[in-house]
Symmetry: C2
Subunit: 293 residues, 2 copies
């Protein structure tokens, strides 16, 4: 029976946010980073995410600009709003909350954001930078996963790392970032045969599946480190509980360390959004980017 360390994402996020706030204070005489958030429509989850992002911006000393736009807005009108923000020198980061209404092409919106202000790291220029292991703005969730892994393990070199999921938001960028950390990576997905065996061989598992409690305790190699990226509603429609992709209770006693849901990767993701805003501000304005790693 292994003693499982529960990786406290809230605590790491609090530490990181304190460091970011300190750096923003440091640069106060020179500039204040500005983050623009855009919400289209009234999706309740999106409203909560945006509210958190705005509140965290305020807490850290980032100037927040918010646009609340109706679900009926045309793509052209939304592109015009982005153009204004691209040209506004006070704005360092632009975040368009996803998902967008069906009549708007999300790719066209992402491509319209100035890559230097693309704090979500979704623009092709930033995607190419990540793929080629060059400087750029990297997406927040995979960055959060790497950060938590590096806080838990001294080095990822050579470790057998299984990423379950191949989305452009988590699985693919994270796999490449792990590769650049010298991990040996495997990418599994819905078409993978015998996932359980792959899991049992892995020193590290990152679950980005999107199915509540999909990964069972018996799939975990004793001593493995588990990062749970899942944010799922309970299958019980009466429950408001948020569940991870990993059966947390079963993982206890097998994994050497695991991130809980909630309180694991989630709080780190928003902290890295703030970090990306500070980073974008420093790069745009010609100041040194503070290192948080």
């Amino acid at each position: 029976m292994t003693q499982t360390h529960v990786i406290d994402g809230k605590e790491f996020a609090a530490l990181l946010k304190t460091k970011i706030a300190d750096q923003i204070l440091n640069y106060k005489q020179n500039f204040t980073p500005g983050l623009a958030t855009i919400l289209v429509g009234t999706n309740p989850s999106s409203q909560i995410y945006i509210k958190n992002k705005i509140k965290t911006s305020h807490d850290l000393g980032i100037k927040s600009y918010h646009l609340d736009l109706p679900a009926t807005i045309s793509e052209i009108a939304l592109l015009a709003e982005i153009k204004i923000l691209n040209e506004d020198s006070n704005i360092d980061g632009i975040l368009v909350q996803m998902p967008l209404p069906d009549h708007i092409d999300a790719n066209r919106i992402i491509n319209a954001i100035d890559p230097q202000k693309d704090v979500d790291g979704f623009h092709p220029i930033n995607a190419a930078a990540l793929y080629m292991n060059q400087k750029g703005l990297y997406p927040c969730t995979p960055t959060a996963c790497i950060y938590l892994l590096k806080q838990t393990l001294s080095s990822l070199r050579g470790l057998k790392t299984l990423v379950i999921g191949r989305s452009m938001i988590v699985g693919k960028p994270l796999s490449l970032m792990l590769l650049h950390e010298d991990a040996t990576i495997t990418i599994a997905h819905s078409q993978t045969i015998d996932l359980k065996t792959l899991c049992l061989e892995a020193d590290i598992i990152v679950a980005a599946i999107g199915r509540p409690h999909f990964l069972r305790g018996s799939w975990i190699k004793p001593g493995a480190v588990i990062i749970d990226v899942g944010i799922n509603r309970s299958l019980d429609p009466d429950s408001k509980k948020i569940m991870g992709d990993v059966c947390f209770e079963e993982a206890l006693g097998r994994a050497s360390a695991i991130t809980p849901v909630p309180g694991g990767v989630g709080p780190m993701t928003i902290a890295f959004l703030m970090y990306n805003t500070l980073k974008a501000a420093c790069l745009r304005r010609g100041y040194e980017v503070p290192d948080m790693f």
Copy 2:
């Protein structure tokens, strides 16, 4: 003892080149694709590669333009040559033979090529397209590997595929292309621990290591398919033999299929350079791209 099928890259390349030549003939009334090659300096291997590319262009009906530049050319002068080719409407593809002399920044040269004419598929715009599984010009060697695998196996879905090597020319783009074919992929490299075990678990191994006969027969799961991307000089300085990364003789009787070196991936790579030139010509000139898959 498995009967090992030797995948005849020469034959597949001949078939593919015939198809490309037919399509070029088809479009003759409308346009003739043009490929510009640039050789800087007098590296003997590079001279052979370029000579092959020019000859194959001629054979297929592609108009070839060649620039032979001295090793002493400045980066600025080379960039000026590329600018002229970018603006020349007769040129559909621009290929700068690597490696370049040390005083020239290869990335700066690649980035200067019009992405629509980037038949090597190395420009960040094309790299991003591949990473995001969108349309673009994809690098030739990984495309050749995918082609040979799809000719050998009906589907790659779910198959455990090990890519050894993580370069931007082969390992990384190939891993993503395999992922987009629904394979379960593992990327191994110099820092990987216990490569032999990983090899023995794989249904498909692609070796892009750069070390002659590195992968031994005993590392191959009986029935696995082996793609050997290696092009190495023999360790014996007197031998002019080209050797693959895989110990071919040992693989016979274990693998279900294997590409030989020479005569495997190599001839396919040049065929796909011709295909990329035709593709670039069609895209630039507004004609349908013939499907070769």
